[in-house]
C-alpha cells in the first residue's frame, strides 16, 4: 500500500482554480505530496505551508504556525466551520458538478434544487414565460418547491412529468 500511496504524488503541478468567483493560479512543488513542508505560489505570491492529510479528505495545514483544519466537501472545502466553494480547471479536476447553462445567456435551464418528486408541471414546450414565473413544482419530505423561470422567453424543452423522481441538478425545463 505504501507504494500505492506514494504513486499518488504527481509531476510538477499548476492548478487553475476559481475561488469565490476569482480565477487563481496555484503552483505546487514538483514531486509534490500533500504532506510536509512545501513552497507554493498563488498567482505568483509565494506561500510556505506544511500540510498533513490525517484521513482522506481531512487535512491539517500550517502556514507560519497558523493551523487550519480543512475538510473536503465535494467541490468545496470547509475551514473553521465555513465552506469555500471552488472549481478546478484541470484534467484531474473535481469539475463537471455544475449543471449546464448556469450564468450564461441564450438557453437557461431550470434545474431541481433538491431531490424530490414532480407534483405539478405548469408549462409546456412552446409556452411563453415571464422571468420568475413558476414552471414546475417538486416535493420532498412533504414540502413543495415551485421552481421559477430564470428569464423571460419560450419554453423549448420540458424534461419532467408529474410523478417523476428527480435528483438535485436534473434539468426540468429549458427556457430559450
Amino acid at each position: 500500500m505504501g507504494r500505492g500511496g506514494a504513486a499518488g504524488g504527481v509531476a510538477p503541478v499548476t492548478v487553475w482554480l476559481e475561488v469565490g468567483g476569482k480565477k487563481l493560479r496555484v503552483e505546487l512543488p514538483s514531486g509534490l505530496m500533500s504532506a510536509g513542508a512545501m513552497e507554493c505560489a498563488v498567482d505568483g505570491r509565494a506561500l510556505s505551508v506544511d500540510a498533513r492529510m490525517l484521513e482522506p479528505g481531512v487535512m491539517s495545514l500550517l502556514v507560519e504556525g497558523r493551523q487550519y483544519r480543512c475538510v473536503l466537501d465535494g467541490d468545496g472545502v470547509v475551514i473553521g466551520g465555513r465552506r469555500y466553494g471552488f472549481e478546478v480547471d484541470d484534467p484531474r479536476s473535481l469539475q463537471g458538478r455544475r449543471g449546464a447553462g448556469a450564468g450564461t445567456d441564450g438557453p437557461r435551464a431550470v434545474k431541481a434544487p433538491m431531490p424530490g418528486r414532480v407534483v405539478r408541471v405548469l408549462v409546456a414546450a412552446g409556452d411563453a414565460v415571464e422571468e420568475g414565473q413558476g414552471v414546475v413544482v417538486i416535493e420532498a419530505m412533504k414540502m413543495q418547491n415551485e421552481l421559477k423561470s430564470p428569464k423571460a422567453g419560450l419554453v423549448v424543452r420540458v424534461g419532467a412529468a408529474v410523478g417523476d423522481t428527480v435528483s438535485s441538478g436534473d434539468v426540468l425545463v429549458v427556457v430559450e
Binding site: 496555484v26 466537501d73 471552488f86 433538491m114
Partner: protein, 495 residues
C-alpha cells in the same frame, strides 16, 4: 419490545432497552434496510415500501409483526403512530403494552378543542377564543368580534403550523378560514378549525410531565422553544431564561392538574404561550415523548425513556417532585437536511462525509453516517445536537465550538443558521419569542464570519484536487457501496 419508528428516536429507544436488558425488535421500510436503528436491533422486520403511509403509519402491519414475534410492548417514539388513539387501542386489544398514555387520555388531551375544554375544567388559563371547532365563517366572525383582533385560526386536529392563519382584521377572516380549513383537511383529514386571540410576541414554553399508573405525576421543569421557523421548533433549551422558581411551580402544578384530571399516564408535555408580563396561556398537550426531551434529561439528570418503560411496566415513579432538581443549562439544535440558501427546502441525499463534534458536555442524538442516503420520504432531521454547561452563556459557547467541529458533506444543512443565531445579540440576551427567528432572517444576510485568506483556501483546494484520485478511492466508494447495495436490493441481487 417492538419499536414502531425509525431514525434517531428508534435508535435512542433501542439503546435504552439494551441498557435495561430488554430485547428489541425494529421495523423498517424499504428505504431503511440499511439504517442504524436496524443495525442496532436484536431483530428486524420489513414493514413495507418507503412512503410512511405504506410502512411506519401502517399500525395493522406493525401489530401483525408484534404478534408474530411475540413482542409484549410497542414504543411509538414521536410522530407516526405515537398520538394515534386507535393504534393504542389496537395494542391494548392484542395484549401488547403501548408505551404511552391510555387511548382515553389521548382522546381527551390529543384533540386541541377537547383539551381546551379539559384545561378550562382544570382551571388552567388559556388564550381567549372558541373552545370548540367553528361551524362556519359566520361563527368565526362572531367569536373574533367578541375577543377582538388580531386572532389566530388553528386546526383542531393539527400541529406543526399546518392549518394555521393569523388574521388582523375582519375582512381577511373569510379567506383565511377557507385556507386554514382546507389545509387542515389535507393535512389531518379533518377541516375543523378554531380561533383564538393572537398573543403579541409570545414565548413558547412547555412543561415536561411524567405520570405513573398509581396517580402520581411530576413535572420535570420547562423547555423554552421560542426559536421557530414556520411554527417548527429550531432551537430548544432548558431551563427558560425567563421562568422564575415561582412561575415554574405554577405552570408545573397547572400541567399536573390537567394530566391527572384526564387520567394521564407516561410522558407528556403541556405547551404554553407566555406573554411579556409572564402570564401563561394553555396552548395544547402532546401525549408522547417530544423530540426535544434530551435538554430536560441533561438538566434533570434523568432518563425519560427509562422512566417511560418503567411506568409502562406498572412501576411507581421512582421519584417525587422534591427529588426533581434542575442543574445547569442545556441547548438543542435540530440539524436538518435543508438548504438555507434556497429557502430551507429539504436537501435529502447521500452523506459523503461526516465529521462529528465531541468533547465534554456535547450529546448528539443522531442516526446518520457517512454513506447513508437521507431518504426523500421522511422528516429531514439529521441530528439533535445538545450542549450542556453550568450556565446558559457557557452552553451557547460550547454549542458554537461543537458546530465549528461539525462537517456534514454531500448534502446541505442548516448548521450555518445555528452559528448565526447563537452569535446574535438578541438570542444571547434571551430576547426571543416565536417571531424572533423569522424577524432575524428577514433582517437580511448573515454577518460575515472571520474569513480564511484567499491564498490559503486556494492552496488547500489545490492540494485536495491533486490528491483527488486517492480521494475518489474513498468517500465516493462509500457512495458506490450503498448505491450498489440499494441497486442490489431493488434488482433482487442479480447484476
Amino acid at each position: 419490545m417492538l419499536i414502531a419508528n425509525r431514525g434517531e428516536i428508534a435508535l435512542r429507544v433501542i439503546r435504552a432497552c439494551k441498557e435495561m436488558g430488554i430485547a428489541t425488535v425494529a421495523v423498517y421500510s424499504d428505504a431503511d434496510r440499511g439504517a442504524l436503528h436496524v443495525l442496532h436491533a436484536d431483530e428486524a422486520y420489513r414493514v413495507g415500501p418507503a412512503p410512511a403511509s405504506e410502512s411506519y403509519l401502517r399500525g395493522d402491519l406493525i401489530l401483525e409483526i408484534a404478534r408474530r414475534v411475540g413482542a409484549d410492548a410497542v414504543h411509538p417514539g414521536y410522530g407516526f403512530l405515537s398520538e394515534n388513539a386507535e393504534f393504542a387501542e389496537a395494542c391494548a386489544a392484542m395484549g401488547v403494552t403501548f408505551i404511552g398514555p391510555p387511548a382515553s387520555a389521548m382522546r381527551v388531551l390529543g384533540s386541541k378543542t377537547r383539551a381546551r375544554q379539559a384545561a378550562d375544567a382544570a382551571g388552567m388559563p388559556r388564550v381567549p377564543g372558541s373552545v370548540t371547532g367553528l361551524a362556519d365563517v359566520a361563527e368565526a366572525l362572531r367569536v373574533a368580534a367578541g375577543i377582538g383582533y388580531p386572532v389566530m385560526l388553528k386546526a383542531a386536529a393539527g400541529g406543526g403550523g399546518k392549518g394555521m392563519r393569523a388574521v388582523t382584521k375582519a375582512e381577511e377572516l373569510a379567506g383565511a378560514f377557507a385556507a386554514a380549513s382546507s389545509e387542515a383537511e389535507r393535512s389531518f383529514g379533518s377541516g375543523e378549525v378554531y380561533l383564538e386571540k393572537l398573543i403579541e410576541r409570545p414565548r413558547h414554553i412547555e412543561i415536561q410531565l411524567m405520570a405513573d399508573e398509581h396517580g402520581h405525576c411530576v413535572y420535570l421543569g420547562e423547555r423554552e422553544c421560542s426559536v421557530q421557523r414556520r411554527h417548527q421548533k429550531v432551537i430548544e433549551e432548558a431551563p427558560s431564561a425567563v421562568v422564575s422558581e415561582d412561575l415554574r411551580r405554577r405552570m408545573g402544578e397547572a400541567a399536573v392538574r390537567l394530566a391527572l384530571s384526564a387520567g394521564y399516564v407516561n410522558a407528556g408535555t403541556v405547551e404554553f404561550l407566555v406573554d411579556a408580563e409572564q402570564n401563561f396561556y394553555f396552548l395544547e398537550m402532546n401525549t408522547r415523548l417530544q423530540v426535544e426531551h434530551p435538554v430536560t434529561e441533561m438538566v434533570t439528570g434523568l432518563d425519560l425513556v427509562h422512566l417511560q418503560l418503567r411506568v409502562a411496566m406498572g412501576e411507581p415513579l421512582p421519584l417525587t417532585q422534591e427529588d426533581v432538581r434542575l442543574r445547569g443549562h442545556a441547548i438543542e439544535c435540530r440539524i436538518y437536511a435543508e438548504d438555507p440558501d434556497n429557502n430551507f427546502f429539504p436537501s435529502p441525499g447521500l452523506i459523503t462525509r461526516l465529521v462529528r463534534p465531541g468533547g465534554p458536555g456535547i450529546r448528539e442524538d443522531c442516526a446518520v453516517f457517512a454513506g447513508w442516503t437521507v431518504p426523500l420520504d421522511y422528516d429531514p432531521m439529521l441530528s439533535k445536537l445538545v450542549a450542556f454547561a453550568p450556565t446558559r452563556e457557557m452552553a451557547i459557547d460550547r454549542m458554537l465550538r461543537a458546530l465549528d467541529e461539525y462537517v456534514i458533506g454531500g448534502i446541505k444543512t442548516n448548521i450555518g443558521l445555528f452559528r448565526r443565531i447563537l452569535t446574535d445579540a438578541d438570542f444571547r440576551a434571551a430576547r426571543i419569542d416565536t417571531g424572533y427567528l423569522e424577524r432575524m432572517l428577514a433582517a437580511g444576510p448573515a454577518v460575515v464570519e472571520e474569513s480564511v485568506p484567499e491564498d490559503v483556501v486556494a492552496v488547500v483546494a489545490a492540494l485536495f484536487a491533486v490528491t483527488a484520485r486517492r480521494e475518489t478511492a474513498v468517500a465516493p466508494d462509500v457512495a458506490a457501496e450503498s448505491r450498489w447495495a440499494e441497486a442490489g436490493r431493488r434488482e433482487g441481487l442479480r447484476l
